[in-house]
């Protein structure tokens, strides 16, 4: 599904900075992968490079077998909105639109028929439990609801890959759990491939597999067994081993 081969990313500037070094990874269809690592390890850069927002300096990325970097700029926009879905830490909902309108935005940009949009919207807000706030402005709902609306927007066009950048970073633990359960549910029912960058070991414990990155290189990888809480312990251990900042070491909250 997603193949990343020998990616390098160098930020040129007064002092050149190498964010990613020879990084390769593969994500299979329907997989839910978490990316973790200390601050400045290149997690977000990796996500940006995969999401075509940023260009890799060298290396190759294949999404569903095609290389998006060979596309022209406007084709790239179309590719992004048809093949990819994004969930951000800051939600990035459009202030001028209501929740419902925010969700259908990718469809309207693609010129989908109104009746179909209605249909998909009503099914998705049903599924994510945000039916009641459909016509509210985004200032009138909680952050957890905003993030779920953002998730709904990210999956309404049935993307082949959903990319999430710290989706729980701005939420309290209850809202976090709700959001993560939503993502897990989508992953299970729709078989949507997901890749999530996170700091939060609890959020990471929902993944099938967690990849650790340090200094722009692959460091470690752990796979979920049968038990989520055991997986969570493994993640905590890996973080401790990684020797990241103290703030990486969340107190056990389960």
């Amino acid at each position: 599904m997603l193949q990343v081969r020998n990616i390098n990313k160098v930020y040129s500037g007064r002092k050149a900075f190498r964010a990613l070094t020879d990084l390769s990874l593969t994500i299979r269809e329907g997989e839910f992968v978490g990316i973790m690592g200390p601050s400045g390890s290149g997690k977000t850069t990796l996500l940006n490079v995969i999401s075509t927002i940023d260009m890799p300096s060298s290396g190759q990325i294949l999404i569903n077998g095609s290389n998006p970097y060979k596309l022209r700029k406007n084709k790239l926009a179309a590719f992004r909105r048809q093949q990819l879905g994004f969930v951000f830490q800051e939600f990035h909902l459009i202030e001028t639109l209501t929740i419902g309108e925010n969700i259908i935005l990718p469809l309207t940009l693609d010129g989908v028929r109104v009746s179909e949009m209605e249909e998909r919207l009503s099914s998705i807000i049903q599924k994510l439990g945000i039916k009641d706030i459909r016509d509210n402005s985004i200032f009138e709902v909680s952050r957890g609801q905003q993030q779920r609306a953002a998730i709904a927007r990210a999956i309404i066009h049935r993307p082949s890959l959903l990319l999430a950048d710290e989706p729980t970073g701005n939420l309290d633990s209850k809202a976090s759990r709700h959001v993560m359960e939503t993502l897990q549910q989508i992953n299970e029912t729709d078989r949507t491939t997901m890749m999530m960058v996170t700091h939060d070991p609890i959020a990471a414990s929902y993944c099938h597999r967690v990849i650790f990155i340090k200094d722009g290189m692959l460091y470690n990888e752990i796979v979920q067994g049968q038990n989520r809480s055991a997986f969570y312990q493994k993640i905590i251990n890996a973080i401790a081993l990684l020797g990241g900042d103290a703030n990486e070491f969340s107190t056990i909250r389960v």
Binding site: N74, R80, E90, E95, T96, I104, S137, A154
Partner: protein, 630 residues
């Protein structure tokens, strides 16, 4: 780092944040400086001795100061609000209120001094440029560049005081807010004030009724319409348009289509939020548009008038006028005294009231006409018996269609001819109903001279070959001969007096006009600029988000375009409608005063300028967005 350095670094390193504020202040300074520099220009200064004109100049200057004060105050408020979080952090760090106030004072002083310097320097550059343009526009004597030391002083003092007053005022904007409010940049909840159908209906009725009044001739109701239209306009932006937008949003097939979703909802929000601003802009630009119309009309009039009056000064004396010789002597002496050189025409005339229209007509001999023709170096028209040549058309509109006239106590009627040279008026329109001058054959003239129904008189016309002191001369002549116009036994006209005023006035009228127009134009545009830019940082995040979820660059550009077109276009459209309505009404009242051509030219000019403004605005704004996407 001492305190001064801190304040200086604050300004220097947040250059972009301060830029909008800085430039708007510098702009206000520049406009004022230019205005003062013009009014003190050595060529203009002598003609401002007139009380009314100098009053007008002062009024212009004070309105510019007032406007820039409001403008600077407004931008200060926006600017200070945008920085409230920083003030909060500084307070937490232990900055006392006094220090905060001092910091603001220092910052505003730095910006103030900077903008005064920038404003005057750019003002000097523009002064040169403007003088060139002005000389071209007015034509004739060119205005030379001078170094306006007085203007520099006035500007520096006025704006120095202004900026000193601004900083304590700016403190008022933040002074009362509790620390908590300053620190947490709470996201401003969008106010969705309700629009009411009742007010919308009332507003729409007011608006339509007012526009309809433009097509009718009743001055009283038009004046009422003049008031009522304000209700209509405000209601339009506040109630009618939001309701229309709401309806449009209900049409799913329209609203849920491509970028319409973004465009329409944003448009609705902007209209809802800025109803008052739209209304103010409309009024502002209506005035601007009318200014343009007046300026262009004056420019057109100036082209027309010089040919209109063939004699700058003439004196018509009845046969039994005892004072004729003394008057003529007095006029010529005054001419000599004021140094005006001239050529003189003396033409005997006969005056009859002719039928069927009962117009007063003046008749002159063919030989005098030939003499005039030689003088003008123009072709002369041959004349047959029973014909009369039309030298001046007369005042009445109806007289255009005259073909033949009948002189009392004379058997045959006369056919009217038009002269070959129709571009120039050879003789002025004289006093009396219509008062046109006609040429008849010498023999007929001799015959009519004996006719008792007529009066014979003598026409003395003076054509100036140099006219530097014409205004002084006119004053002198008026003093000696009494009020201009018809006396018992003589009439005289300073026909060219108004023409001269027109030639002298433009410097004043056009400059004041140009300035006020320029100020209003840019005032509106910078208002829009400020409105758009105050949200720039928030917008950048939104555009980034849109870009990330796959909105293509051209689609983003569409959104920006819609925004600028809305902000500039909507008020401009209604400004044009308003001025068109007003002009239509005036035209119905007095057909001769305004012509269509200047109207159309002015509207085109207005639209062109507004388009330029919005293009620049859009380009600058888009550059910011595009940069942030890279």
């Amino acid at each position: 780092m001492n305190f001064l350095q801190f304040a200086f670094n604050n300004v220097k390193r947040h250059a972009r944040k301060y830029a909008a504020y800085f430039f708007s202040s510098a702009f206000a300074v520049m406009i004022f400086f230019l205005y003062v520099a013009f009014s003190l220009h050595p060529k203009i200064l002598p003609s401002t001795v007139n009380e009314i004109v100098s009053g007008g100049m002062t009024l212009g200057a004070s309105s510019i100061v007032f406007f820039s004060f409001i403008f600077i105050l407004y931008s200060t408020a926006v600017f200070v609000q945008a920085r409230s979080q920083q003030f909060g952090i500084l307070t937490i760090l232990g900055m006392t209120k006094r220090q905060l106030r001092f910091m603001l004072f220092l910052e505003f002083s730095i910006i103030g001094v900077g903008s005064i310097l920038t404003g005057t320097v750019t003002g000097l550059v523009f002064l040169k440029l403007f003088l060139i343009i002005a000389s071209l526009a007015v034509g004739g004597s060119s205005m030379t560049f001078y170094f306006p030391i007085e203007a520099l002083k006035t500007t520096a003092i006025t704006y120095g005081i202004l900026f000193i007053f601004i900083s304590p005022l700016s403190y008022l904007f933040i002074g009362r807010q509790p620390l908590m409010e300053l620190l947490t940049v709470r996201r401003r909840k969008l106010r969705f004030r309700n629009s009411s159908y009742i007010f919308a209906t009332i507003a729409l009725c007011c608006l339509i009724w007012s526009y309809v009044q433009a097509f009718r001739k009743d001055i009283g109701t038009f004046l009422i319409a003049f008031m009522v239209i304000h209700i209509g306009l405000y209601g339009l932006f506040r109630h009618v348009l939001p309701i229309i937008m709401r309806w449009m949003k209900k049409i799913r097939s329209l609203f849920w289509r491509k970028t319409n979703l973004l465009k329409l909802s944003e448009t609705e929000l902007r209209i809802r939020e800025n109803g008052l601003m739209f209304y103010l802009l409309t009024i502002l630009w209506t005035i601007t548009c009318l200014c343009v119309v007046v300026l262009v009309s004056i420019r057109f009039l100036m082209d027309v008038t010089p040919n209109k009056e063939p004699f700058q000064l003439y004196y018509v004396s009845n046969l039994n006028n005892p004072k004729q010789d003394t008057h003529i002597q007095y006029i010529e002496q005054s001419l000599k005294q004021t140094g005006v050189t001239y050529s003189k025409q003396r033409i005997p005339l006969l005056r009859f009231t002719t039928t069927p229209e009962n117009y007063v007509d003046y008749f002159m001999r063919y030989q005098d006409y030939v003499r005039l023709g030689e003088f003008y170096k123009s072709p002369i028209t041959p004349l047959q018996e029973g014909e009369a040549l039309w030298l001046s058309r007369g005042k009445e509109n109806m007289a255009k269609n005259r073909t033949s006239i009948q002189i009392p106590n004379h058997s045959s009627s006369l056919q009217l001819l038009k002269p070959l040279d129709t571009k120039k008026n050879w003789m002025p329109e004289l006093r009396g109903k219509n008062g046109s001058v006609l040429v008849i054959t010498d023999s007929l003239y001799k015959e009519l001279a004996a006719n008792t129904a007529g009066e014979s008189m003598t026409f003395f016309g003076y054509q100036f070959t140099n006219s530097n002191n014409a205004l002084t001369l006119f004053a002198l002549v008026e003093k000696g001969l009494g009020q201009e116009g018809v006396q018992d036994r003589y009439q005289y006209s300073l026909a060219a007096y108004y023409e001269y005023l027109f030639q002298q006035m433009p410097y004043i009228v056009i400059f004041i006009g140009l300035f006020i127009t320029a100020v209003f134009f840019t005032a509106g545009a910078s208002f829009v600029y400020f409105k758009i830019y105050s949200d720039l940082n928030k917008d950048l995040v939104q555009f980034r988000a849109l870009y990330n979820i796959g909105v293509s660059i051209p689609e983003l550009y569409q959104i920006v375009k819609t925004r600028v077109v809305l902000m500039m276009g909507l008020p401009s459209l209604f400004a044009i409608l308003n001025s068109a309505g007003l002009l239509l009404f005036i035209k119905q009242q007095d057909d001769t005063m305004f012509k269509w051509l200047p109207f159309i030219v002015s509207f085109v000019l207005f639209i062109l300028i507004q388009t330029c403004f919005s293009l620049i605005l859009r380009k600058r704004y888009w550059a910011h967005i595009e940069n942030s996407l890279k």
